[in-house]
Symmetry: C2
Amino acid sequence: MQRRRYLKKLSLEEAQRIFLDYPNISRYDKIDEISTLNSLGRITAEPIFAIVSSPHYHCSAMDGVAVRADDTFSASTANPVRLGKDQFCIVDTGDPIPSDFNAVIMIEDIVEIDEDTIEIIDPAVPWQHIRMAGEDIVATELILTRGHKIRPIDIAAMLSAGITSLKVKKKPIVAVIPTGDEIIEPCSNPEQGKIIDSNSYMLTAMITEWGGEPKRWSIIEDNYEKIKSVILQAINESDIVLTSAGSSAGREDFIPPIIEEIGELLVHGISISPGKPTALGVINGKPIIGLPGYPVSMAVSAEAFLKSLLSKMLGIANIPPAKIKSSVSRKIASKLGDKEFVRVKLININDNWTAVPLARGASVLNSLVRADGIMKIPENSEGIVPGEFIEVELMKTPDEIKNSIVIIGSHDLTLDILADEIKAINPYINISSAHVGSLGGLMALKRNEAHIAGTHLLDEETGEYNISYIRKILPDRKIALINLVYRQQGLIVAKGNPKGIKGLNDLVGKGLSYCNRQRGSGTRILLDYELKKLGLSPDDIIGYDREVYTHMAVASAVATGIADAGLGIFASAKALNMDFIPIAEERYDLAIPEEFLSLDGIKIILKTISSDKFKSVVQSLGGYDTRDTGKIIMFA
Amino acid sequence: MQRRRYLKKLSLEEAQRIFLDYPNISRYDKIDEISTLNSLGRITAEPIFAIVSSPHYHCSAMDGVAVRADDTFSASTANPVRLGKDQFCIVDTGDPIPSDFNAVIMIEDIVEIDEDTIEIIDPAVPWQHIRMAGEDIVATELILTRGHKIRPIDIAAMLSAGITSLKVKKKPIVAVIPTGDEIIEPCSNPEQGKIIDSNSYMLTAMITEWGGEPKRWSIIEDNYEKIKSVILQAINESDIVLTSAGSSAGREDFIPPIIEEIGELLVHGISISPGKPTALGVINGKPIIGLPGYPVSMAVSAEAFLKSLLSKMLGIANIPPAKIKSSVSRKIASKLGDKEFVRVKLININDNWTAVPLARGASVLNSLVRADGIMKIPENSEGIVPGEFIEVELMKTPDEIKNSIVIIGSHDLTLDILADEIKAINPYINISSAHVGSLGGLMALKRNEAHIAGTHLLDEETGEYNISYIRKILPDRKIALINLVYRQQGLIVAKGNPKGIKGLNDLVGKGLSYCNRQRGSGTRILLDYELKKLGLSPDDIIGYDREVYTHMAVASAVATGIADAGLGIFASAKALNMDFIPIAEERYDLAIPEEFLSLDGIKIILKTISSDKFKSVVQSLGGYDTRDTGKIIMFA
């Protein structure tokens, strides 16, 4: 069980400096000479000077006639001038001006007398309506500097200037070496203990986006000598080498010692979270980055080191993402000494930005997929509290985020269906949902952190849903309460119900374990209500304290044997092929403050949930009833 | 000389509505089923649901040992617990947790007693350091909605969820048909009267960027029947058809009548400038866009109609560019009734944005290449005056523009050399130059519209350069005046000097024509000074009133026979292979207000011009002397 130690842990900035400033590490002068026609997105390797002028001759800017200005000086309404055969020449836009003419009169300003004679009433100013040679581009003029990423208009400008080929930076070859005994090629049915290699394909896509040429190697098992030999070969054939996983300080983390053996290990261990177990080194003068195996760590580390290295090699600026200043919806704690990258959802209400943190684990890739931005909490901070403002780097444009309708509250699968249906109707509207339980959703409305709360809160006294809670939490707001669905709640149990569970009574005294939902969730309130009706005590239920945040998490806990049962909706049980014992039907509503009803996104949502299409998709999930879907329950 | 009429001229918004809302015009449901590995940048055609959970089994989140939490409850510092052979199992990060264990203890917290025994002093909480199956993604969960452009992290998330292939929108095939008798394929030596086809290649690049599959057709001459037949064939084989040129209302503008004959002409003539002569129609249910031939018009029109059409077909949002609010440096007049797209350079000083308009002709593609943004002056405005603020759509990120050092003033070729050299040293710094003459440059400093003024203003009384002008125009500012170059000014004349011009005296009384620089330019002041010394009158010089704005424009005027001579620098004459008759050596300096000297970009500029590399490149141009280059002339 022998372990290595990290080198001295460095800050992100120190690590970048040591790595990127290492002598000649970013030196790169390989060049492709390519056709201008194929140059979109490539980086100029040298300044581009015009070969021919554009236009390259004096030409007419209008449809009309070319004349000598001298011949027209005396023209006026009172004294029209007639021009004969040799005094004018018909020209269309772009036609060359014959060398003895020096002005163009527009076709509209000419009276045709006969085939050889025209009459005009205004004198022409010399060079009027003529595009002089070089008006746009003069031969030898600089068109593009080196280090310029070529756009469609640049292609047009180069072609106009007679440039049919040019020198661009060759795309640096970046080797990607996935390592690990447990790693397997992408498939749809991985065996227990095997992990699908998604990392190396994320990297190849990033390399492509950042201007490199990815070359992925086959997966290598955790064998020091084998990995070493592949790295040496890759170093030989590539401009940069990346390894995926094995960069930490565990028993089988071979990358740092290999770099030490055959090259120079510059950095190992960086005070960022996620991304700490990154190893940076040089082998035979070429850069190698040992990337951590957890996907979010890898994404953070690749952005920090690979993107900046590629930009430097290509001679282009590594443009940072746009940033906004945001407050936070609740305290976000952070470890002193580490710069923490927190993925967040952003909400813009009345031009105030609020950030809601997503799952923070280095392994939770989905949190990066769902994020609107990244909040970087500095090393010297223990966290951010409401009222403080902090910069958030955006992963979308501000307009895209502003077009998001934020639904916070209880989780229901139909919200995902809704998000997808909306995209088909209006791709400008994004549905952005976060799951914090029904009470959390109403609290978010109160703090102006959401447009809609999804809620199914049973009032034990009245048996009515949601209304009494809304009145209590949002006493001063006018709220539209609109039904989304009725749904079956029940016990999710293993396929075939091997423990023979018939209802909540079976949870007590039979040694069965339960998986609960979090406090404040409608499902938890429903459970407590039903237990009370049956006279059962939570203390007698094994696992009552084990809380998860979604129906799918409950179903997953049962599916994988963590628990024998959990209360959840039918659709979750069905999705994971579990059995389901109905307990109660409940009403799931959307609470929307009046002031948001005029937003386009809200209007489209309300129209969509009332549509037959949406209702039929929901019904096909099972366990839902759409008899009141879209109906206004309350507007007060 | 028969002409067509435009249909009723429509506003941009009306035209977009009529075209994009035409029944089924944007209906598009062609699909590619592709490997997830190749899906970067493609658009999902359907919602993507997870096939397997990630992780798909309970696994260790740490390197350590798996244990049963029950076995550890009594552990404390005082009472360490020893676990034997069957009570623990060594696990690395990612390893599956054996089914009878339910917690992981980190390797650091374990004392190894012997091979079969470990000792711990803290109890393990059930499920600690275990990633539960589905922690990241639960099978059947929605990962991506339809209409989503796939990023590297999305590829990783899909692969983790067992998705190895997916349905994406097929790229719509967009036919590009270049038309015109005078149009030729790209080359470096176009004949007089021939225009290089740059438009169709700009379009194919735009189509690629916007998610379409371009298919360029060969150039077709201006022949109604031939064009018609190609359009019919293209409509048959493509999803969208574009024509380049021939969309106006001239004699040979065949596109609108062809659309009318074989389809429906929906729009012809739009009240935008540039871009007016756009024709929009439908043939056999498929959209056709007749794009104007002037490149800037084409770019504007393609952005307005093609990009939005492609976005609609692909089911994605057509994200508008970011905007900033800017004031203007001087009045920008605009035609009432037309929405005008003015290309501008942007300057950010003390967080105030100022827009400086670039050349406005529809043919001046270079103005689009050099632009930082597009100012759209509304139809109901006659223009913008200083003090007013107007939105500018950005073509770069705000950070890129803020990293620009703006040099306004006299034109000198070495500024382009400087811009390119800077890119090689620091790609983050952009040199953005605009040519308004030396006096204009000092005025721009006064109005805080530039960081540097390039100036060569001769004080006729003292014979000294620049200083007296700076004192007069910027009396309260501390200015660093730094020499860039000395340069030869002289008469640029045709190769071989066929008119035998020997000096300025020859400009009078010999019927020779002259091309002048604009008022306020240092060259103009030099000319007037030299004329005065010789006792010559401007009135006696033919062409004295013909003003152009750069040395290259003077050289070009001579090269193309517009003028017999013009005063300019040696490098311009050399660039166009003209003869040069030296008149005077002058000093060209950079004036920099003290407050900008601390900017990184300015520091790099000053370091660069002092470098041997820069001086040797400048000397190789000829006509320059670098004896004082980089020297501080004045700092007061």
